[in-house]
Symmetry: C2
Subunit: 350 residues, 2 copies
């Protein structure tokens, strides 16, 4: 049967900090593009570059909520693919599927047991497919669940700080919080991004964290104190947010990208944790991967609401789509070094 040339992003070695193409080389081989019994062959269209993938690039001995990648295997994550060939009744050639088990390869062979991990997208609203990896996908659910169900109890006029605010999660959090009547302040890593937050997403204020220390900036942009902090970065900003939190503040601990991949002795040392008692702060971590199983009703609510906002044009979503599988490692580094702007995806095929 039809042999095709396949190209894959392979997990080769544990990155020292930010991943490079040495850690994530491109490997080419030839595969037979015939579906196994009851399986399919997928042509991968888009893959989603998410911070949690960095957490999987570790020694399998280091415990975490996610399974470590095995060296020599393709990177695996969220993606959108088109069915290239099928030996199933449930999927036909040309169908579009979404999965959290997409190989970062041009082609992926899925056996019968793997079919259950594929979600067929009907996309009756005719949204760009990439939306299903962003605002309608895991990052959107992260924003929605974190803001409403971990933070919760949003009161008009409260101030929320959102870090990594132009990122896949942050931009959704900020826009949802604006809808709720909160004062929304964001941080980002360039003046362009700060401008975008203020001009396009209507954040009340924003600052470039390269230009000002966290403590100075909070004093300047949030003199009234922080009621809610949606934390995507951890480290210095989290510590300063605790120090400048109002009584009964809620800190939604969504990520700690500033601490990604650091060994324990290199991690940021927090000075203000003892203030949590007197300020009655709730600091709560969560992982979006728990949500479908633990709170399926929230997933439904999320889909319904966000689809409606998108149809009505009431919410925006900025994507940073990089073209070509060979640019995957660089694009992934962009999440950590601040070069990406918006939800970062790589397009593997048209």
């Amino acid at each position: 049967m039809a042999a095709v040339q396949n190209v894959s992003v392979i997990y080769h070695s544990i990155p020292n900090g930010i991943p490079t193409s040495e850690n994530l080389p491109i490997v080419t081989n030839t595969i037979v593009a015939t579906p196994p019994t009851s399986g399919v062959v997928l042509e991968v269209l888009f893959v989603s570059l998410d911070p949690f993938l960095r957490g999987k690039m570790r020694s399998a001995e280091t415990k975490s909520y996610s399974v470590a990648f095995a060296s020599g295997q393709p990177v695996t994550g969220f993606g959108i693919a088109r069915v290239f060939a099928s030996d199933t009744l449930i999927l036909s050639k040309g169908d579009i599927v979404r999965s959290s088990s997409i190989h970062f390869s041009k082609y992926q062979v899925v056996d019968g047991a793997g079919i259950a991990q594929l979600e067929k997208l009907d996309n009756k609203d005719n949204f760009p497919l990439t939306r299903y990896l962003g605002i309608l996908g895991m990052p959107g659910l992260t924003a929605f669940y974190g803001l409403y169900h971990v933070g919760g109890n949003l009161r008009k006029g409260e101030t929320i700080l959102v870090s990594a605010a132009t990122g896949a999660v942050g931009q959704v959090v900020g826009q949802l919080a604006k809808r709720e009547g909160l004062r929304v302040v964001g941080t980002a890593g360039s003046d362009d991004k700060v401008m975008y937050l203020k001009e396009e997403l209507h954040f009340d204020d924003a600052w470039n964290y390269h230009n000002e220390s966290a403590a100075d900036a909070i004093g300047k942009y949030i003199p009234e104190g922080i009621d809610i902090y949606f934390d995507n970065v951890g480290g210095e900003l989290l510590d300063a947010a605790i120090e400048n939190a109002n009584n009964f503040a809620r800190i939604i601990a969504c990520g700690a990208i500033s601490q990604a991949g650091l060994p324990p002795n290199k991690r940021y040392k927090y000075n203000n944790v003892s203030l949590i008692v007197g300020k009655r702060i709730k600091l709560q971590g969560f992982i979006v991967l728990d949500v479908p199983q633990n709170s399926p009703e929230v997933v439904e609510e999320f889909r319904h609401k966000i689809s409606e906002f998108l149809r009505k044009g009431e919410i925006m979503f900025k994507e940073d789509i990089v073209n070509g599988i060979e640019n995957t490692a660089d694009a992934f580094a962009g999440i950590f070094n601040g070069k990406s702007f918006g939800k970062t995806l790589v397009q593997f095929s048209d």
Copy 2:
């Protein structure tokens, strides 16, 4: 009218760490023991020595949830007093009252406006009066509210770690948690206290924090990991508890006695805060003084349940009653240096 000699514990100066009698001198003066119009004169029987008093011994410029003490005025806190003379209809000579505004003095003159701060105790169960400052008072409510309403969602077989476990709050937390079917492990500052926890309060295990590092001890006594940590101490043990927390652990941040009075640059630096995301930890601070206003129904539930446990002899409460107002400063230091054993009170009069 009757002049009486009064003796008071005065707040004189900000302590450097643990308070001493230099910070809290005894002052004697003569007062007229006649009630003002619509007021009373109280004879103070017992005062409660609670860690939050240390927080009030600070510069008024340092913001906190509680008002700072004014230098030269008597220390003021929770206490039990007997009405010595009354110009009211609501209180008669000999009545017993409880208040959070008791002066640490032999006699206290309360004017008409202050009467509302006095709670008349009927004590129909004939409990020792000191119980109303301990298990039936603020520390008991702290334990009850913290465990059930901040922690919440207790599941049989989970493991709870309680620090300062022979303290006023810790001993109640541990016994309530045992009733719920949890595995209860405590820390204390002497071998006698550890023995008490295991033999008298039936803790499943306990260790002396002077003998073992937090990390070593948790590995040894809680190899299964921590599901709930009721934190009264902060610092190294809190950091180690985060590191050894199971997924979805709840940390009830009740106090940080190890950090009491430390300037920001001397505070413990926490290394493990970034783990809160992946472990989905909820770390929540609370102050019991909020509870009567925000959750009056919890206060009722608390009174009802704990009174019943006490009547049935199903719960114990160890008190450390120091005799004589002149020993107040030393007794207060005992809370911080580990010399006190159980809820610490001072008896001023019979």
